[in-house]
């Protein structure tokens, strides 16, 4: 009786400790990985310049689309901007920039200073539309295919590794 209890207790604690040990390696920063594989919703977003709107359904006309959420007040956005310019050179990749909770003239200046990599420029003044895409901070970038399926989601500024990853997916 004692022996069995001893074994059971030892096994139980061993299992718990193994899991705790493995937990030390867990990813700390939360990312919305769940969304990869799902489709982005068909919603209307406001265009930047005019008072018109565009429906995300239109993105089905593109082979691949990048949705980049950015703002002039965001320092990491500045850091990733050259990488976005690099991406814009890819032909079958459409670049959509969504200006997030920003002032129009500041945004324009930002693009003038750093270059405009976007084929389409949109804005989300209140940040509410971005919730539909699972955005919780900027910069964030979403890569979708012609069926509006999310292929990749990047939280934080894009680095060279991310650019190469996107290139590989898009060139196939």
């Amino acid at each position: 009786m004692k022996q069995i209890n001893y074994i059971i207790v030892s096994i139980l604690f061993s299992a718990i400790f193994v899991i705790l040990y493995l937990s030390l390696g867990n990813e700390k920063i939360y990312d919305t990985e769940d969304l990869v594989g799902k489709k982005i919703p068909e919603v209307e977003i406001n265009l930047f310049e005019t008072s018109g709107v565009l429906n995300t359904k239109e993105f089905t006309n593109n082979e691949f689309t990048i949705l980049n959420f950015w703002a002039s007040w965001c320092a990491p956005c500045r850091k990733e901007h050259p990488n976005l310019v690099r991406l814009s050179k890819i032909t079958n990749l459409k670049m959509v920039g969504i200006n997030f909770k920003d002032d129009k003239s500041n945004a324009k200046n930002f693009l003038q200073e750093n270059g405009n990599p976007f084929d389409i420029l949109a804005k989300d003044k209140l940040g509410k539309k971005s919730v539909n895409f699972g955005i919780y901070g900027i910069p964030e970038t979403i890569l979708i295919d012609s069926e509006l399926k999310i292929l990749k989601k990047y939280i934080g500024p894009l680095n060279i590794k991310d650019i190469n990853e996107i290139r590989k997916i898009v060139k196939k």
Binding site: Y30, T32, E33, D34, L35, K101, L126, G127, K128, S130, V131, N132, F133, G134, Y136, G137
Partner: protein, 118 residues
């Protein structure tokens, strides 16, 4: 027998009705602020929290109920945003284990006390 059923139903129906929170606050208190360290959307003043507060307000005025709003947000941000873990395949153990342990304990105590029926 009827009385028992009535009591059980009564108990279950009035199980959750405490606190006089309006729907707005009630939902916001159940949402985690994703960019904060351990705060609800209701208590946070971060940009993200303010956006979510605004979105929830819109959804309520559109007539969505509590569950629909939680479903919408967890679909976009994952279950981590919900402070009340939904009953899903990956949380069955979470919700049932406590009751299971309690019953186990009662059984164990029963045997402990059964030793002396003198």
């Amino acid at each position: 027998m009827k009385k028992k059923i009535f009591l059980i139903l009564f108990f279950l129906i009035t199980f959750e009705s405490y606190g006089y929170e309006n729907l707005d606050n009630q939902i916001l208190k159940n949402l985690r602020c994703l960019v904060c360290q351990g705060q609800t959307v209701h208590d946070s003043n971060s940009e993200f929290a303010l956006t979510i507060k605004s979105v929830v307000k819109d959804k309520i005025s559109e007539g969505k109920n509590e569950k629909e709003i939680y479903d919408f947000l967890s679909e976009k941000y994952g279950d981590w945003i919900l402070l009340n873990p939904p009953l899903k395949k990956n949380s069955y153990l979470l919700w049932f284990l406590p009751y299971f342990i309690f019953v186990l304990g009662i059984i164990f105590l029963f045997f402990l006390l059964k030793k002396t029926k003198n």
